[in-house]
C-alpha cells in the first residue's frame, strides 16, 4: 500500500518536472510582460521573413540528413546482420563514435578537413546533412538493428530466396516492408537531432546560415518575448512530427485491425 503511494508520488514528481518548464514557457508566451492574454508574440514571429527562411533551411537540412542516413546506413547494416556477424560488431562499435565524441570535436574535425583543397566547403551549408547524419548514426543504427533482431529478417530473406526471388526482389518486396518501422523510427531520431542541432551548424558555417536553432538564439537574445513564442512553435513542431511519424509506423497495425473488424462484422 505504502509502496503503491510512493510509486505514484514519484511518477507525479517526474511528470511535473518534465511538464512545468513547458507550461511556464506557454504561459510566458501568451501572457508575457503586459499581463494580459495576447497572441501578439506569435503575430510578430510569423511576420518575420527570416523565421520562414530558417524554418525552411532546417527542414531541408533535416530531410537531407534523413535521406542520407537511410541510403548510407541501411544496406551495410542489413547485409552485415544477415551474413557477417563479426563485421556487424565492428560497425556497431564504430557507430558509437559520434555518440561519444563531443559535437565540438566533430565540428572542428569537419572544419579542418573541408577547409582547403578541392573540398573547400566550410562556410557553406552543404556539409551539414552529412554531419547531421553522422550525429544521428548511433541512433539510426541501433533502432534499425533492433528491428532486424525482432523481425526474423534472416529466415524471412532465405524464405524469399528459396521461393525464387532474386536478392534485389527479396530486398525490395519483402525486407523493406518488413523493416519499414525500424527505418521510420530511426529516421525520426535523425530528423529531430538535425532540427535541433546547434554546435556544428554554428562552427562550420560561422553563423552565416540561418537555421531554426540559430534563429531561436538570436531572437531570444534580442527580444525574449518573441523568443519564447519561437520556442512554443518549435515545441509544437516537434510534437506534430513525432505524432505524424508514429502514426505512419503504426499504419500497418491499423490496417490489420480493420481486417479483423470487418471479419467480425460479417
Amino acid at each position: 500500500m505504502f509502496e503503491k503511494w510512493l510509486y505514484r508520488v514519484l511518477i507525479g514528481l517526474f511528470l511535473l518536472q518534465v511538464l512545468l518548464p513547458f507550461a511556464g514557457l506557454i504561459q510566458f508566451t501568451l501572457v508575457g510582460g503586459s499581463g494580459a492574454l495576447s497572441f501578439a508574440s506569435f503575430a510578430t514571429l510569423f511576420s518575420d521573413p527570416s523565421f520562414a527562411s530558417s524554418l525552411l533551411n532546417s527542414l531541408w537540412l533535416a530531410a537531407s540528413a534523413v535521406l542520407l542516413s537511410i541510403v548510407i546506413f541501411t544496406p551495410p547494416v542489413w547485409h552485415a546482420y544477415l551474413y557477417a556477424p563479426r563485421l556487424l560488431r565492428v560497425i556497431e562499435a564504430v557507430s558509437f563514435v559520434p555518440f561519444v565524441v563531443p559535437a565540438v570535436v566533430l565540428a572542428l574535425a569537419y572544419v579542418q578537413f573541408f577547409s582547403s583543397g578541392p573540398l573547400d566547403l566550410v562556410g557553406t551549408p552543404y556539409l551539414l546533412p552529412f554531419a547531421f547524419a553522422l550525429l544521428g548514426m548511433p541512433f539510426y543504427i541501433q533502432v534499425f538493428l533492433n528491428r532486424l533482431r525482432h523481425a526474423d529478417a534472416r529466415a524471412i530473406h532465405e524464405a524469399a530466396q528459396t521461393l525464387g526471388a532474386s536478392d534485389f526482389q527479396a530486398f525490395v518486396r519483402i525486407q523493406l516492408p518488413l523493416l519499414r518501422s525500424g527505418i521510420i523510427n530511426g529516421s525520426l531520431l535523425v530528423f529531430t537531432i538535425s532540427i535541433g542541432e546547434f554546435t556544428i551548424t554554428q562552427l562550420t558555417t560561422g553563423g552565416s546560415y540561418n537555421t531554426l536553432p540559430l534563429y531561436l538564439l538570436i531572437t531570444f537574445t534580442n527580444n525574449p518575448l518573441e523568443g519564447s513564442a519561437m520556442a512554443v512553435v518549435t515545441l509544437f513542431l516537434a510534437v506534430a512530427g513525432v505524432v505524424a511519424a508514429l502514426s505512419a509506423a503504426s499504419s500497418r497495425r491499423r490496417r490489420i485491425h480493420a481486417v479483423t473488424a470487418s471479419e467480425e462484422a460479417s
Binding site: 529466415a155 524464405a159 524469399a160 530466396q161 528459396t162 521461393l163 525464387g164 490489420i256 481486417v259
Partner: protein, 356 residues
C-alpha cells in the same frame, strides 16, 4: 531424385557435418532424426543452397547443384520459425513464388485457392500471419513452399512449435499432402515418434555423422549402434556377458537369453560389446516366477500412459528396467515384487524352446 555425396561442413574449428551421404528416391518421405546440435539443420541448409558445404556435392537428378543459388534450385523449404512474410496475407504469402515467376493473374489465383483448399485454409485467405494460430501459420508455410510445384520439399522441425494435439493432426495432413502431390520430402526432427510415424526411411544422425539409414521398422527393431537403440524409442541398456562357447548366448547374472538378440547385437557382442538394449514392450511382468526362475525386481513407480501402464522396475543397484504393460488393468504399487521375463516378438518362437 536427390543425391547427397560426402557432404562436410566445417565451422572454423568445429565440424558440424562430416561425410554425409544419402540417396533419396522420388516420392520418398525421409526423416532426418538426431539430438540437438547433431547437424540436421546444417544438412538441410546445404541441400537448399543456403549454406555452402566445405566439401561434397548435392545432386538433383543428375544435375550437380552444389554451386546453384537457392532461387534456382526449385526446392520448397518450410522453416522452423515459418518465416512468413508478416506484411502479406496468407493468400499473398502463397502467391509470392508465383508472382516472382510471372504467372498470369488467373493461374496464380487458381493455384492459391487450390493450395488453400488442400491445407484447409480457405477461410483464412485474407488474414495476416499475426492474426493466425500457430497451426494455421504452419499450414500457410507449407502451402507457400508447395505453391510453385517443387519436386523436393525440405522441412526443418515443422511441427515442433505446436502443442501435442495440433501436432498429431498436422502430421497426418503433412503425410496426406505429400502423398497427394507426389512430392519428395526431407524432414528434420528430433522427435523420434514423428520420424517413425511419417517417414518411409529414417536417417539417424549424431555429432554430424550418420548412425543408421533404414525404414522405421529397421531403425526401431534392428538398431545398428548403441546410440540408435537408446535414441530411437526407450531402451534400457543392461550389461551382459557372452557365454564364451561361440554361440553368442548372453548371460545376465545367471539368467541366459539367447533368443533376444538381433544379428547386429550379436555381432557387436562378438566384437567385445557388453550391453544389450531392452525396450519397454519387450519386458513382461509376472507376479510369481515360473519354472524358468525369472529374476526378481522391485517396482519403483508406475505411470498411466492411456493405452499402457509404464512401470519402472529396479533389478539391481545399476539396472532399472522400463516396462510397458499394454491395456492391462493390473496395478503396480511402489515396493511391490515382480518377476521379469524378457521377450522379443521378432524372434520365431521355435528359437526359444523353453517358453511361449
Amino acid at each position: 531424385m536427390l543425391s547427397v555425396r560426402n557432404l562436410t561442413k566445417q565451422f572454423r574449428d568445429h565440424t558440424a557435418v562430416e561425410d554425409f551421404s544419402a540417396e533419396v528416391a522420388a516420392g520418398e518421405f525421409i526423416a532426418l532424426l538426431g539430438p540437438s546440435g547433431s547437424g540436421k539443420t546444417t544438412v538441410l541448409r546445404m541441400v537448399a543452397g543456403l549454406l555452402q558445404p566445405t566439401s561434397g556435392a548435392v545432386y538433383l537428378g543428375d544435375r550437380n547443384v552444389t554451386k546453384t543459388r537457392p532461387k534456382d534450385r526449385q526446392i520448397g523449404v518450410v522453416f522452423q520459425s515459418y518465416a512468413l512474410f508478416p506484411h502479406l496475407t496468407a493468400g499473398d504469402n502463397i502467391a509470392f513464388s508465383l508472382k516472382v515467376r510471372r504467372w498470369s493473374k488467373q493461374d496464380t489465383a487458381r493455384r492459391v485457392d487450390e493450395l488453400l483448399e488442400i491445407t484447409q485454409l480457405s477461410h483464412r485467405k485474407d488474414y495476416y500471419p499475426e492474426q493466425m494460430s500457430g497451426g494455421e501459420r504452419q499450414r500457410v508455410a507449407l502451402a507457400r513452399a508447395l505453391a510453385f510445384n517443387p519436386p523436393l520439399l525440405l522441412l526443418d522441425e515443422p511441427l515442433s512449435a505446436l502443442d501435442a494435439k495440433v501436432r498429431i493432426s498436422l502430421r497426418e495432413m503433412l503425410k496426406d499432402v505429400q502423398r497427394r502431390l507426389h512430392v519428395t520430402a526431407v524432414m528434420v526432427t528430433h522427435d523420434q515418434e514423428e520420424a517413425l510415424s511419417l517417414a518411409d526411411r529414417v536417417i539417424v544422425m549424431q555429432s554430424g555423422q550418420i548412425e543408421q539409414i533404414g525404414t522405421p521398422e529397421e531403425v526401431y527393431h534392428s538398431p545398428q549402434t548403441a546410440f540408435v537403440s537408446t535414441f530411437v524409442g526407450v531402451a534400457t541398456p543392461i550389461p551382459v556377458t557372452a557365454a564364451g562357447d561361440g554361440s553368442h548366448d548372453v548371460r545376465w547374472g545367471d539368467y541366459a537369453f539367447p533368443w533376444l538378440l538381433t544379428i547386429a547385437q550379436k555381432r557387436e557382442l562378438a566384437d567385445g560389446g557388453t550391453h544389450i538394449y531392452i525396450r519397454p514392450e519387450a519386458v513382461k511382468l509376472l507376479s510369481a516366477p515360473t519354472a524358468r526362475h525369472e529374476p526378481k525386481g522391485e517396482v519403483l513407480f508406475s505411470m498411466f500412459l492411456g493405452n499402457a501402464v509404464r512401470v519402472r522396475v529396479r533389478m539391481s543397484d545399476e539396472i532399472v528396467l522400463t516396462a510397458d504393460v499394454m491395456g492391462g488393468k493390473a496395478m503396480y504399487r511402489p515396493g511391490q515384487s515382480v518377476f521379469v521375463q524378457l521377450r522379443d516378438d521378432r524372434v520365431d518362437p521355435k528359437d526359444d524352446p523353453r517358453d511361449r
